[in-house]
C-alpha cells in the first residue's frame, strides 16, 4: 500500500514540475505517461466515433445510433466486439509478414505522437526541444503502413488505391509543414510546450488565419477525410488499400483512421487554438474541448461537401495550397523582421486582409484539374 501511495504521489508531484528529458530519472514517470497516452487515445477515439456518427446523422435530419447504451455511447464498443468475432482472412498470394505488420504500422504512430503533446504546463512524457519535428516525422510513418497494406494484398485495385493514397499524402505534406513552420517562427521554438506558452496573449489562429486554413485543409487531406476521401469511399469503385483485410486487422485500420483524426485535431488545437490554456476548467479538460471543437468542424465539412477527383486533389495541393503556404511563410518572416520582440496586436487585421487577398488572387489564377482526354 505504501509503495503504491509513494508511486502515486510521486506521479502527482511530477505533473506540475518540468519533467526531465527522455530517459527520465524516476522510472515511473514514463510508465504513468505511457498509460495516460494509450488510454487517452483509445478513449478519445471512442468519443470521436460517437461524435462523428451522431453529428453526421443530425446534419442529415436523422437520429444516429441511440440504442446501445444510454444515448448510444456504447456503439463503438459493440462494433469492436462484432469485428473481433469475425474471421481473419489472409489471401493466399499475400506476403504474409508484411500483410500482418501493416495495420500495426498504421496505428502505432498515432499513439506515439502524444508523447510530446502537453496536457498541462509541462505535463508531457518528454519535453523535446524538437517537438514539432518529431510530430511531423512520426505522422509520416503511417503512410508506409498504408503502402505495405496495398502492396502485400496482391490485388491490383488495392495497389492502385495505396499508390493514390501515398501520392496524396506526400503532396499535402508541403502545405502542412510550411504552415507549421509559420507558427514555429512566431513562437520562436520547436517545443510544443513553448508554442502553447507563447499563445498567452492571443491564440495563433488570429495571428495566422491563412496558416490555420492551410493546416486544416491539408490535415483533412492527409487523413483521408471528406472532401478528400476518394481513397476509401463507398461510391467509388476501387475499394482502397484495405480491401483484403477483415476482422481485427480491419478494425486497426478503422481505429487508425479515427486516431489520425484525433492526432490532427490535437495538433491544430495545440498549435493554433492555445492548447491547454483557458479560464475556469482544468487544463486537460480544455484540451479535450478544443480537440472536440476542431473535430466537429471536420465532421461538418464531411457532412456538407462532395468529393473531389484525384487529379483535382493533386492540382489543389500543388497549384493552390503550396504557393499560398510559401507566401504565408514569407510574410510571417517579414513581419518578425520588421517588429522584433512581440508582434503588436494591430497586425491582426493586416493578416486577415493579406489572407483574403491571397485567396482571391489564387482563385483567379488556379485551374482545377484536366478535362477530357483525347483517346
Amino acid at each position: 500500500m505504501t509503495a503504491v501511495d509513494a508511486a502515486f504521489s510521486g506521479a502527482m508531484r511530477h505533473l506540475d514540475a518540468v519533467p526531465p528529458d527522455w530517459p527520465g530519472n524516476e522510472w515511473w514517470h514514463w510508465l504513468v505517461f505511457t498509460v495516460i497516452c494509450i488510454a487517452f487515445v483509445l478513449v478519445m477515439i471512442i468519443v470521436v466515433i460517437y461524435v462523428e456518427r451522431r453529428g453526421i446523422a443530425f446534419f442529415a435530419a436523422r437520429v444516429g445510433p441511440n440504442r446501445t447504451g444510454p444515448f448510444g455511447v456504447l456503439q463503438a464498443i459493440a462494433d469492436a466486439i462484432k469485428v473481433l468475432l469475425k474471421e481473419n482472412i489472409t489471401p493466399s498470394n499475400a506476403d504474409k509478414l508484411v500483410y500482418w505488420l501493416a495495420p500495426a504500422v498504421v496505428f502505432a504512430p498515432t499513439i506515439m505522437i502524444f508523447a510530446v503533446v502537453p496536457f498541462q504546463n509541462g505535463a508531457m512524457m518528454a519535453d523535446l526541444n524538437i517537438g514539432v519535428l518529431f510530430v511531423i516525422a512520426i505522422s509520416s510513418i503511417s503512410t508506409i503502413g498504408v503502402f505495405m497494406a496495398g502492396w502485400s494484398s496482391s490485388n491490383k485495385y488495392s495497389l492502385l488505391g495505396a499508390m493514390r493514397n501515398v501520392a496524396a499524402v506526400v503532396s499535402y505534406e508541403m502545405p502542412v509543414v510550411l504552415s507549421i513552420a509559420g507558427v514555429v517562427l512566431l513562437a520562436g521554438s520547436l517545443s510544443l510546450n513553448d508554442i502553447v506558452l507563447a499563445q498567452e496573449r492571443v491564440p495563433f489562429i488570429v495571428m495566422q488565419p491563412l496558416g490555420f486554413l492551410l493546416l486544416f485543409i491539408g490535415g483533412c487531406a492527409e487523413i483521408n477525410r471528406s472532401p478528400f476521401d476518394l481513397m476509401e469511399a463507398d461510391s467509388e469503385l476501387t475499394a482502397g488499400f484495405h480491401t483484403e483485410y477483415s476482422g481485427m486487422k480491419f478494425a486497426m485500420f478503422y481505429l487508425g483512421e479515427y486516431g489520425e483524426a484525433v492526432v490532427m485535431s490535437t495538433i491544430i488545437a495545440t498549435l493554433f487554438l492555445g492548447g491547454w490554456q483557458g479560464p475556469v476548467l482544468p487544463p486537460w479538460l480544455w484540451l479535450i474541448v478544443k480537440i472536440l471543437i476542431v473535430f466537429f468542424t471536420m465532421v461538418w465539412t464531411r457532412a456538407t461537401l462532395p468529393r473531389v477527383r484525384i487529379d483535382q486533389l493533386m492540382a489543389f495541393a500543388w497549384k493552390f495550397l503550396f504557393p499560398l503556404a510559401l507566401i504565408n511563410l514569407l510574410v510571417t518572416a517579414l513581419e518578425i523582421l520588421a517588429w522584433p520582440g512581440d508582434l503588436p496586436l494591430y497586425i491582426i487585421p493586416l493578416n486577415f486582409a493579406i489572407t483574403a487577398a491571397l485567396i482571391l488572387l489564387g482563385s483567379k489564377l488556379f485551374k482545377v484539374g484536366w478535362g477530357r482526354v483525347e483517346v
Binding site: A61, V63, L360
Partner: protein, 160 residues
C-alpha cells in the same frame, strides 16, 4: 475550369447544413412511436363480409394475379353457398382492383400492415381467418368508412 466564387459557395453550403442541424429530426423510432397510416391504405390483407357476399366471383375474375380462390355450390332460394374463399396474400400486389369490382360492397382492403409470418404457407388467408373478429377495414373505395378511422399523420403537420 477556374475556382469560381472564391470559396463562398462552400461557406454558404456549410451555413445551410448548420441550420439543418438544429431542425427537428424526421426519424420516428419504431416500434415505440408509430405513425398513423392513411385512411385509404391498401394494406397487406383483405377483409371479407360474409353476409353480403353472394359468391359471384367478380373479384376473382378481376384480380390480375389470380390470388382469390372461390368455390361455391348451389344453395336454397336460388343462390350460391360459398364453400371456399381463400386469398393468397403472398402473391397479392395490393392493387385494390378486387375491391373496386365487387358489386355488393362485400370486400374491403385491410387496415393492418404488421402481418409478417415465418412461413410462406401461412400467408394464405383461409376462411376461418377471414371470418375472425377484430379485422379493421380501410376506406379504400368505401368512403362511408372514413369516419371510423383515425386521422393520418402528415409530415407537414409535425412542427419544426
Amino acid at each position: 475550369m477556374k475556382f469560381e466564387r472564391y470559396g463562398i459557395g462552400i461557406a454558404k453550403g456549410m451555413r445551410v447544413t448548420l441550420r439543418n442541424l438544429v431542425r427537428r429530426r424526421v426519424t420516428t423510432q419504431y416500434p415505440e412511436q408509430r405513425l398513423v397510416v392513411a385512411r385509404r391504405t391498401r394494406g397487406n390483407e383483405l377483409v371479407w363480409d360474409k353476409e353480403k357476399c353472394t359468391g359471384c366471383a367478380t373479384c376473382a375474375k378481376t384480380c390480375p394475379q389470380g390470388v382469390i380462390h372461390i368455390e361455391t355450390s348451389p344453395g336454397e332460394e336460388n343462390n350460391y353457398t360459398v364453400e371456399k374463399f381463400e386469398v393468397d396474400t403472398g402473391y397479392c400486389i395490393s392493387c385494390g382492383l378486387c375491391v373496386e369490382a365487387c358489386p355488393y360492397n362485400a370486400l374491403f382492403m385491410g387496415y393492418a400492415f404488421e402481418l409478417a409470418k415465418y412461413q410462406r404457407g401461412a400467408l394464405v388467408l383461409t376462411r376461418d381467418q377471414l371470418e375472425a373478429d377484430g379485422r379493421i377495414p380501410s376506406s379504400y373505395f368505401r368512403p362511408e368508412l372514413d369516419e371510423t378511422l383515425p386521422e393520418q399523420t402528415l409530415l407537414i403537420d409535425r412542427k419544426e
